[in-house]
Symmetry: C2
Subunit: 381 residues, 2 copies
């Protein structure tokens, strides 16, 4: 049995106000090509197909297009569950029909724990569910945390499980040992959001979604494939890949990885603005990448983002590298000084920050007369 | 060929703040029963399956449940198109898979005008589309109105049409001759929103959705099935049904109707409040119906809606029967008189409107002293 494990496609994702749909389509077409080459027995998508419960229509059309290519055109069975970003109910629509062509989509956790059997391997589909939902579903008041919920679900699965057969768990959860990044929704810390890895001991392989790095957990049989793309600058240094999982008849697992590469990477660069816009620097760079730029410069800069975007059109985020505590102290001092300054002095500073022109005596006279007039208007009211 | 023509289910509809999902489910289960009895060769749903592009999840689950029962459990082919209330893209998701089991869902108008063939009959599926979309799709600048658009689409269909075969058109449009009601979105009047019935001459039967009354158009072969339920008080007197259409091999059509009945009807009643809450009146009534009540009473009434709801729990709308022009004139006169009245006189009127207790001299003294105190407080500020 060979299957490809992927997760966290987050179709319809907005990153710093930019829809990632074009990059998602690009990488998913590479994925379709990979399926064509690898000819796996199944594809496993471990949740978060969409980025939100009501995704934009472009995302809906993209998912339809890609799954159709894989499932119907390439006749490859698909196993998919919903994640915390998906709407279980909306994703479930039509799933009864998809089974005809071996597209097994489980949107909502139900009491039916029958696995999907492909080539003798049992795939146990467990979509994301809040502990409260599992508590109600299994009518077990002791379920409080995500760990309790997952443990109870696995116990139900085990009741019907033939230990002589092969078993793969497909789930969407924060399994202990993982490292989080910004682009995953903040989970409650202190244990209640986490699931202990020992829960999955009875499975030959556990295909997880939720954490975006393929290195989020180090384990021989429990694995996150990681997300389809980098969805946050905190993921800038992560590898992005899908896992090629081979399971022999004795239950021995071997995991390979294949990376998918969008034409625009997501990266961070830093330096002085003059260096960054210098051809000697940027000629080596993939200037179209999505960038977070950190500037070393101190003091005011004239519209730095537009200056940078003339070279790097896809700057998504700009930061200044100033030690935070120092800058806060400096700010406070400046405020105190400004309180003592006259409006004319403040304007002079503002003018010099904003322009490169000399602040002449003539200009000073003009602004002084404007200020005087304005004050009179205010006082007369 | 026998098929059932229905349309305008509007799943997820809110009427005066009440979700109609329970009634929709009730009537759709009757519909499933009807399909079981009639054993038609197909079901035709002529648009507006949902009430809006992002329907509530209960509506999504209901549609999934009902279509599964009809298509998979009862093995009945389904032909469905999107209406102006549906999201073409969202509804389309998965439609490629549904074809396996003869569920033909056309969400988006495309250049592919190939009909769906069932038992030798060609069904031409034309989902709702704005003229601008059709203009772009067919690359024909002359298309301005809905009539132009529909005419052009039908011409394309005719190009490929074998006149020796049987043809059924399935569309969602405002075909001339129809009467509108409140619950259909207001269409531009003056012709541009309408489509002339002559456009559909080449079809043996035209199954329409959009207008909510089965009597919206009088024609031998062009028919609106009407909506699943009454969705507005303007539809209170309309019949609600589905059409059983039989098409013989010579193209002769016979149309029967079968009504579906929710346990709560939508009706209007009127009278004096004392009569309406009198057992001699309401014992004959289906008191649980959704009601619009028009009261004949003049003058102020103490909380009439709650008084009525103690008998009729589902009053959705309350009106007072006062001739509008008269009441406006009366209002103006009252305002003029009130301007001349003292606060004490106004309070006396208010007290008498709001209570049934006598307005004693003692009460008058109390309120006079309260008013005096209040005035002093205001003046001292």
């Amino acid at each position: 049995m060979k299957f490809i494990h992927t997760a966290d496609w987050h179709l319809g994702k907005l990153v710093h106000g930019i829809y990632m749909t074009a990059e998602q389509r690009e990488v998913l077409l590479q994925f379709v090509q990979l399926v064509k080459e690898e000819k796996p027995d199944a594809i496993v998508i471990a949740g978060d197909l969409y980025d939100r419960s009501v995704p934009p229509t472009e995302a809906v059309e993209l998912l339809d297009e890609i799954l159709f290519k894989i499932n119907v055109e390439l006749k490859t069975p698909i196993i998919a569950i919903s994640g915390n970003h998906d709407s279980a109910e909306r994703l479930s629509f039509g799933s009864s029909w998809y089974k005809h062509s071996q597209f097994h989509l489980k949107g909502k956790l139900t009491k039916d724990f029958t696995p999907v059997k492909i080539k003798g391997v049992n795939f146990h589909l467990v979509p994301y569910a809040e502990p409260g939902i599992v508590r109600q579903l299994l009518n077990d008041e002791r379920i409080v945390s995500h760990h309790d919920a997952m443990k109870a679900v696995v116990e139900r699965i085990q009741e019907e499980m033939d230990p002589n057969e092969l078993h793969v768990f497909v789930g969407h959860a924060f399994v202990l040992g993982g490292k989080t990044t910004d682009s995953e929704r903040t989970l409650s810390v202190g244990g209640s959001g986490c699931v202990g890895a020992e829960v999955f001991e009875c499975f030959h392989y556990t295909a997880l979604g939720h954490l975006h790095s393929p290195d989020a957990i180090k384990h021989d049989t429990i694995k996150y494939s990681g997300s389809l793309l980098k969805y946050s600058f905190s993921e800038a240094k992560q590898r992005k890949c899908v896992c090629i999982v081979e399971l022999d008849e004795n239950g021995k697992v071997s995991i390979g990885e294949r990376s998918l590469t969008p034409s625009k990477d997501m990266r961070e660069i830093e330096g002085y603005i003059d260096d960054l816009v210098d051809p000697s620097f940027y000629t080596d760079q993939q200037i179209n990448d999505y960038l977070k730029i950190t500037l070393y410069d101190e003091g005011a800069l004239m519209d730095p983002i537009n200056k940078l975007r003339q070279i790097y059109p896809n700057v998504l985020h700009l930061e200044r590298k100033i030690d935070r505590i120092d800058s806060r102290q400096k700010d406070e001092m400046e405020v105190r000084q400004q309180e003592k300054k006259s409006e004319l002095e403040l304007f002079e500073e503002f003018y010099q920050d904003m322009t490169t022109l000399p602040y002449s005596e003539e200009k000073k006279k003009i602004i002084a007369s404007v200020m005087e007039k304005a004050k009179k208007v205010v006082e007369s009211k």
